[in-house]
């Protein structure tokens, strides 16, 4: 899977969970500071990421995924 495909899949998940427009969801955006996503929504996103990409995100790793780019790279490395 390409990074673009991961980004587009992740954007759909973030849109579904938090209502952020998919066009807003770019690599450099911070989940908390730019997209206003709270820790509860991050847990939902992690569950859906696992369902969609098969990459399990343990809590200690989830806490380190600060930006959308961090999440894309994490999925690319763990699928």
């Amino acid at each position: 899977m390409t990074n673009e495909e991961i980004l587009s899949g992740l954007a759909e998940i973030v849109n579904e969970v938090a209502g952020v427009e998919t066009s807003e969801i770019t690599r450099d955006k911070s989940f908390v500071d730019d997209l206003d996503i709270d820790s509860l929504s991050m847990v939902e996103i992690a569950v859906q990421v696992e369902d969609r990409f098969g990459s399990k995100v343990p809590d200690e790793d989830l806490a380190n995924l600060r930006t959308v780019g961090d999440a894309v790279d994490y999925v690319a490395k763990h699928t």
Binding site: A18, G19, S39, L40, V43
Partner: protein, 410 residues
């Protein structure tokens, strides 16, 4: 120094009769029924004896953003919808009151029961990881008040009275106390409930508290009628914006009426059965008149709690006769709205205030033959024009809670 008077400057609701105040009040005045057949698949699956309900006229998702609908339990959704309407109606805008001088009090009977049941199903069927991280904020009974408080930026306190079917009225009573004590300038107060699902219906049905007139949904809720056989479960929310009179006057707000006095008592009689002579209810009404400085002879109207149970309706009638007399003209809105549980007292308080404002009392539906034990004038057939100075709204709840509210002209 006399305590400040409490005025009502904003109203909001979403009910089985309409998605806002105008449609709800018009529905009550014109004698429409909000009751209908319940056609959900679980009604058949569990062979529920009750197949009727008073469901919202407007689905919350129609007016909420998609993510709001996704993140909020239905009980929270209706609370926010009603609060938004009330806030807009009051015209307070973004900076009409200091956040520290604004409080929220939204009562509920059981809060996010639907979420609790749905998430338990998910846990059972799909395991721990499928349980939503929003489960707790969705099911907690203070969720409706908390979301309204977040939305309005209220920092003067957010509270949730839980007293079963008296919760909505108790929220208004608590708001009155906070304003009279000078704690805040504005309180957004009311009640919310949305739990039309299998388990609550099964539980109430097992108590034999509900009507099973399944073939005639619109005829099922029959307060004060000889053929009454219990209440019909409803859902909805009602919210008022209440202010200290001086605060409302200083901003030249339109005042729709006054919450002039309140009374709250408890029966200490039985966990669910009403005390049959209505002594606790009578004391609550008397207190609501005394705190309002209103004489029984001034009360022209009572909006009755009247759920259409055999004991409750006549106990309430006895309480009204002993505390006020046999002159007030009654209406029983649950005949049209169903029983909104924790929202009932708030929605019915709004109806009482509007009756005083408009000098119009809505009809009680399905009152074909009044129970001879009632011995009071109950409006039936069509709404009635009556010049009103003061009116009382009664609310009672499982647990022996009695709340009475006195509303007077602006």
């Amino acid at each position: 120094m006399t305590p400040p008077d409490v005025v009502v400057t904003g109203l909001g609701a979403t009910t089985p009769l309409g998605g806002d105040i105008a449609s709800t009040w018009d529905g009550l005045l014109s004698g429409r029924s909000g009751l209908s057949a319940l056609t959900r698949e679980w009604v058949d699956r569990y062979e529920l004896p009750v197949r009727i309900a008073a469901q919202l006229a407007t689905e919350p998702a129609e007016t909420l953003k998609r993510v709001e609908a996704r993140r909020w339990d239905r009980c929270e959704q209706v609370a926010v919808i009603a609060a938004r309407e009330a806030w807009q109606h009051a015209g307070l805008g973004d900076d009409g009151v200091e956040p520290e001088r604004l409080a929220v009090v939204i009562g509920t009977g059981i809060g996010g029961a639907v979420t609790l049941l749905e998430q338990d199903d998910l846990l059972e069927q799909e395991g721990m990881r499928k349980v939503s991280p929003l489960t707790i904020p969705m099911l907690m009974p203070n969720g409706p008040a908390a979301y309204v408080g977040l939305e309005l930026g209220a920092r003067g306190g957010v509270h949730t009275p839980v007293s079963a079917c008296a919760s909505g009225a108790e929220a208004l009573a608590m708001a009155w106390r906070m304003l009279r004590a000078g704690e805040v300038d504005v309180v957004v107060a009311g009640g919310a409930e949305a739990c039309i699902t299998a388990l609550p219906l099964a539980g109430f049905a097992q108590m034999r508290a509900m009507s099973t007139r399944n073939d005639e949904p619109e005829r099922a809720s029959r307060p004060f009628d000889t053929q009454r056989d219990g209440f019909v479960l409803g859902e909805g929310a009602g919210v008022m914006v209440l202010e200290r009179e001086e605060f409302a006057a200083a901003r030249s707000a339109t005042v729709h009426g006054r919450l002039a006095g309140i009374g709250t008592t408890s029966d200490a009689y039985h966990i669910t059965a009403p005390e049959p002579e209505g002594i606790g209810a009578s004391r609550a009404i008397t207190a609501a008149l005394r705190t309002a400085g209103v004489e029984p002879s001034d009360v022209g109207h009572v909006n009755a709690h009247a759920t259409a149970t055999s004991v409750g309706d006549v106990a309430e009638a006895a309480a009204i006769r002993s505390s006020i007399g046999d002159h007030p003209v009654l209406t029983a809105p649950k005949s049209a709205l169903g029983h909104l549980l924790g929202a009932a007292g708030a929605v019915e308080g709004i109806a009482t205030l509007l009756a005083v404002r408009d000098n119009l009392i809505p009809p009680t539906l399905n009152l074909d033959e009044i129970d001879p034990e009632v011995k009071l004038d109950v409006v039936a057939g069509a709404s009635r024009e009556v010049e009103l100075h003061a009116a009382v709204s009664d609310s009672f709840g499982f647990g022996g809670h009695n709340v009475a509210l006195t509303f007077t002209q602006a």
